[in-house]
Symmetry: C2
Subunit: 150 residues, 2 copies
């Protein structure tokens, strides 16, 4: 778990100004992997007191643009943010409860980056989303196919 000083270094390293909200957001994303925006806002406010949601949205966008955090948008869910950047990893999303888990790339750094026919596109990234049931839901809800979206 990085310290506040680490976060400040990360911000400076990305040519971003060091502000209280930015450090708090960065810290919140590190502390709560795959958190949605409202959770991050709550965590930041818990840390700093009142902070406008606009500031959090803006900070998240700045951090995303600087590759300090990554934004994932699972279907049927709101945007979520995570701090693991740089490595090529993917996600499992539970169909029932919406839980998200990290999955390291199965074979090598980027195995899926070479589709059979790229239609002339210049591909620079492949994102894989696995859908299924998390351990909890697969045991408790095996029979009742409740499709509740979180």
């Amino acid at each position: 778990m990085p310290t506040t000083a680490d976060f400040e270094r990360m911000l400076r390293g990305a040519a971003l100004r060091v502000t209280r909200p930015r450090v708090a957001v960065l810290s919140a994303v590190h502390a709560h992997p795959h958190a949605d925006t409202s959770s991050i806002i709550a965590a930041v406010r818990d840390d700093l007191g009142e902070v406008s949601h606009q500031a959090v949205y803006d900070v998240l966008r700045a951090l995303t643009a600087a590759d300090l955090v990554r934004c994932i948008e699972p279907p049927g869910s709101v945007a979520r943010y995570e701090a693991r950047v740089g490595d090529n990893h993917h996600h499992i999303v539970c169909r029932s409860c919406g839980a998200i888990a990290d999955v390291d790339c199965a074979v090598g750094p980027a195995p899926c980056l070479t589709p059979s026919d790229d239609h002339g596109f210049t591909i620079d990234e492949a994102e894989v989303v696995y859908r299924g049931l998390c351990p909890t839901c697969s045991t408790t809800a095996t029979d009742s196919r409740k499709d509740s979206r979180v």
Copy 2:
């Protein structure tokens, strides 16, 4: 291109009632691959006259549940629908203009379905989204890294 009679057969085969809006929506999705909801609404209205957006949303959900159409939600875009179902294919999304193209699975029916560590999840599907630049954007905007979201 299937005919209206084909669409009716598909609906009946899925135990769905055959109504004008449903046939029109199904036809629109077949005619406009990767169309977003508002485009589908426009196409349906062009065909039938006034149709409520609620009806289209409802029909799309019913068709999705019946596996007659598939819903894809690229990050930074609204939900889109396509008629190719049953085969395991993926998508390329252009970072610049948002264009979407189909990509058949590179190797075999479902190569990415086996991550290194599934965290106890029961995985039943893997969806791959390639990000990059479409042929048009890669030639016109190679130097200017405009990141406009569509």
